[in-house]
Symmetry: C2
Subunit: 254 residues, 2 copies
């Protein structure tokens, strides 16, 4: 594929805020060329689970996906959020196709090893079906990926949306020039309220060492640097509202 | 498309029964040639709505789709049921792709006229995207259609699954030999406990007139005869468990 492919992960509170979501999708629709949108489920899944009386079980601050919670995740991520986004993108002139990793076998994963911690029905990505995605993109179709994968034996698995974006980018990097954006609520990676515009491994390790970079930002940046190493041309952590603006956010460099 | 295309609507309690659903999908997987599966949501949507504290509003014995119920329908039909079926079909070797009518603009509909009865966010099908479906089928892909459509302005609409099966069959009938099966819990159309193996318009009108055929069977058969007239080669009402057996059920004839 000759054109650059953009993989954009939308994250944070924007999924739960109709006005902000509409603005994001309108910006996304204006981005030209082949592109893939990856979304999570925001707080809606926890909200629905709580209303359904399903207890959210946590270990070490991370949610366990038991069978009931998996049903909620399939409903909210695969159904509500995915189809809402697709309907809005179509209205904006984007030929969108909502996909979970199970559709067309797009993403195959393996249930995470229950040792030392059993996170339940959570999938670690094993492979991404590059040819199918390239074929869709070549036809002008915009895949909208929900964070659900499958194990090949009929079992759906809850899968981190950052990982989906990262692994898809790495797989497609062998076929095209890939640009990966992790969008979220902040402007980028911050220190003392200031945006860090460029980040290399040395700076990352330093800021992680002193505790400035922590929690969910660590796996996101680990994955970002892994993607750079695997041939993804551009990796960025950026505010949802700046998705169209190439100069914004924190750019990862080698 | 040279090969006959089968459109199979799965319905009734089988959606709610994992054992029966697995058997159905296993039979479906064995059917050769291009095929499309259309599903409803069974009783799960009502169950989830009730657990979420959403009141089911009825008018003339029919459910009203208010915005809250639409969210449930999107979650249950578009997410839970659709993705479960797709994951199982993939495990059975079927290259399945879950679609709502909004994905790739497959089915465009119009919100039903609120006069005389306002059913809420319910869509009446306006058009089916034949070329997209034919293209998928030609690639060996099996679309799995959830009963959700969209109005082109970003609004999802709840849409009867029988209608989706019927309209898709009629649209594709201009391109291929079409066989349409409405599967459900009974063996076929019954009278006094006996299966009616063949039904033409005269017999249908007679049995409707004397009250043997009633309720939900009326729109199903109206649609079936409409499909026959529109060029669909074979229309059948048949038990879910007999989907593989060509001689079973009630066959509609001109």
């Amino acid at each position: 594929m000759k054109e650059a492919v953009r993989i954009i992960k939308i994250g944070g509170k924007v999924i739960d805020d109709q006005v902000k979501l509409n603005q994001f999708l309108s910006d996304f629709a204006e981005i030209e060329g082949p592109k893939i949108l990856v979304h999570g489920g925001g707080k809606i899944a926890s909200h629905v689970a709580s209303k359904l009386g399903i207890e959210t079980k946590m270990v070490d601050g991370r949610r366990i996906t038991d069978p009931e919670m998996l049903d909620v995740v399939a409903m909210v991520y695969g159904g509500l959020v995915n189809k809402r986004i697709v309907a809005k993108l179509l209205a904006l002139g984007v030929n969108a196709l909502g996909l979970s990793g199970t559709d067309l076998n797009v993403i195959y994963s393996k249930k995470r090893n229950p040792n030392p911690t059993d996170f339940g029905l959570v999938g670690d990505i094993e492979s991404v079906n590059g040819p199918v995605l390239i074929d869709l993109l070549a036809k002008g179709i915009t895949p909208v990926l929900a964070p659900l994968t499958h194990d090949g034996n009929g079992q759906l698995l809850n899968t981190n949306a950052d990982n989906i974006a990262g692994y898809v980018a790495m797989e497609l990097a062998t076929e095209a020039k890939l640009e990966l954006d992790f969008c979220f609520d902040l402007e980028g990676v911050m220190n003392e309220g200031k945006l860090i515009t460029q980040m290399n491994l040395l700076l990352y390790r330093h800021l992680k060492g002193v505790g400035v970079i922590k929690d969910g930002m660590i796996p996101k940046l680990d994955l970002g640097f892994q993607a750079l190493k695997a041939g993804v041309k551009s990796v960025r952590v950026v505010g949802n509202e700046f998705v169209k603006e190439a100069q914004k956010g924190t750019r990862l460099i080698k």
